[in-house]
């Protein structure tokens, strides 16, 4: 069971790495993997309609509201620890301390987290994960990717989710495997049940369901990284930066060290470009190729299928691709 899970995760990762390398062309300029993404989106929708949504609807019908709130609170409480760690990693020590305070209070007075007494006491719940931490550190998102079953993500957040986040999730540490799987299942169904209304509304609102979900995800993540106060974004910036990330993703074979040394220069130019108002309003995004030319091509390195190496490389590459995020990085 453990082996198969590990295998599943590895194959998800392999998909992510593989996709980053073979960007498809055509479609929306901000979404280089659109062809694959649409197919995976369709698959996920199918699974959702056939299995997950019916389960979630049944769960919502059968369980009284207070019980569902208890379940949501229980898992939310376990999540506060990892949220706190990520707040501290982002330098927000006060917020992190508040998260640990929430955990302490809700686990005791709140009876194992079933009641969210901490919120009532003024300790607000936060939303953090490792993808946001990387974003805060200046790492760009990379291309938008729809993960099998997990849904909307991007290169940075997908890696964070598959490689890092689950290490900070107490449920994964439950020793008894059937119990652990049951907990994961209940949490999944509960999460889906909480989203029933919003997913229906999004479906009704969308002209193109796939694009609506994608663009909402991108806006949402950006907002979360800046804790709800993102700087205004010029329209052309969007397409140029994902164009760059597509270009960047194609160069995965460069070694991390080389990229990091180049990154500094590239960041400086990108930031300068973005601050020029004339460019922001020109209405035409700089072609990705032009961005790539400033970046000396490194050849000769052999593609290495080891995930950690590529992971670091991807993070580094996408960092230079996203000038917008760099501006608020914690770099001195």
């Amino acid at each position: 069971m453990i082996m198969s899970r590990r295998f599943l995760r590895l194959s998800l990762l392999a998909t992510l790495v593989g996709l980053s390398g073979c960007a498809t062309t055509g479609g929306s300029p901000g979404d280089p993997l659109e062809g694959y993404n649409r197919a995976m989106f369709g698959f996920n929708e199918g699974v959702d309609k056939a299995i997950i949504k019916p389960l979630a609807s049944g769960y919502r019908t059968v369980m009284p509201e207070f019980a569902r709130t208890g379940v949501t609170n229980f898992f939310a409480n376990l999540g506060d620890l990892w949220i706190g760690i990520n707040n501290i990693l982002q330098g927000k020590v006060g917020a992190g301390a508040s998260d640990f305070g929430r955990f302490a209070m809700n686990s005791t007075i709140g009876i194992l987290g079933l009641f969210d007494v901490a919120s009532n006491a003024g300790l607000e719940k936060h939303n953090e994960d490792f993808g946001q931490t990387l974003g805060r550190w200046g790492v760009g998102g990379g291309a938008y990717v729809v993960l099998p079953l997990l849904g909307s993500s991007n290169v940075r957040d997908g890696f964070s989710r598959l490689v890092v986040d689950w290490h900070g999730d107490p449920v994964w540490y439950v020793g008894n495997i059937p119990t652990r799987n049951e907990l994961l299942g209940v949490r999944g169904v509960d999460d889906r049940a909480n989203l029933l209304d919003v997913s229906r509304l999004a479906e009704e609102a969308a002209l193109d369901h796939y694009a609506y979900v994608r663009d909402a995800f991108l806006q949402r993540r950006r907002s979360l990284i800046y804790d709800g106060e993102p700087p205004p974004e010029a329209e052309p910036a969007k397409s140029s930066d994902s164009g760059e990330s597509r270009d960047a993703a194609a160069r995965v074979e460069t070694t991390p060290a080389q990229i990091i040394t180049q990154r500094g220069e590239r960041i400086a130019t990108a930031a300068d470009e973005e601050l020029t108002p004339a460019k922001e309003f020109a209405g035409v995004a700089a072609p990705p190729a032009a961005a790539g030319q400033e970046f000396p091509r490194v050849t000769g390195a052999v593609y290495e299928p080891r995930i950690p190496a590529n992971y670091a490389a991807l993070l580094a590459v996408s960092a230079e691709a996203h000038a917008g995020l760099v501006r608020t990085s914690l770099r001195p």
């Binding site: 929306s28 919120s119 209304d197 229906r200 663009d215 909402a216 806006q219 993102p230």
Partner: protein, 207 residues
């Protein structure tokens, strides 16, 4: 987590008789509270009675939105490509779509507490963001921000941002793609057929 968001974002703009001299944040607060009051007392709305919701929205919410500015915002650089007649049709259709979504969301309101944040704006500002938060136990509070501009008829909403997602600019990429593929008329066609399918859906439901 976000089930409410849609509901509240639009519930904000109920009737404020003459909003001329009222500050934008005070206006948001007043209208939000009035709409919530109506929803709380109306069992039909809570049960999803479409007709009653539409009435509430028409009477109290819509007058405070600037739909042509919203449509222009969603269209972005494509807005000038549409002629006056097309702009009129687009605004009308986009309005129908937005109103449908918001109306659908209204019935999901369930006693969440709404907090109004202090306005950060200088005295002479004519374009401000009014920030509110919906508090729910178990999840982080969800922000609902309103982009508002001062007009001769008082402050009007031109953008609604829920949890960081603008319900207006979220359409921009879709609109871009439609226009790239089939021109402004293609986009109009898609909007019309979307609205028509929503209408059929709504009338075929037992509610």
């Amino acid at each position: 987590m976000m089930k409410l968001l849609f509901a509240l974002c639009f519930s904000v703009f109920a009737a404020a008789a003459s909003a001329q001299d009222i500050a934008p944040d005070a206006q948001v607060k007043k209208i939000t509270n009035e709409v919530i009051e109506v929803i709380k007392q109306d069992k039909d709305i809570q049960a999803g009675n479409r007709k009653k919701i539409d009435q509430l929205v028409d009477a109290k919410v819509l007058p405070h939105f600037n739909f042509s500015r919203m449509t222009a915002l969603a269209m972005g650089r494509n807005w000038p490509k549409a002629n006056t007649e097309q702009q009129k049709i687009l605004t009308n259709e986009f309005r129908t779509l937005l109103v449908h979504t918001y109306s659908g969301a209204l019935s999901t309101y369930k006693n969440q507490v709404i907090e109004f944040k202090p306005l950060r704006a200088a005295a002479g500002d004519t374009d401000v963001t009014v920030r509110t938060q919906v508090k729910q136990p178990g999840t982080e509070p969800v922000s609902i921000d309103y982009g508002m501009e001062k007009t001769p008829n008082g402050w009007k909403v031109y953008d609604v941002v829920v949890g960081g997602v603008s319900l207006v600019t979220n359409y921009r990429e879709t609109f871009n793609a439609e226009i790239r593929d089939a021109g402004v008329d293609g986009l109009i066609k898609s909007l019309v057929s979307k609205n028509r399918s929503l209408e059929t859906q709504a009338s075929s439901k037992p509610k």
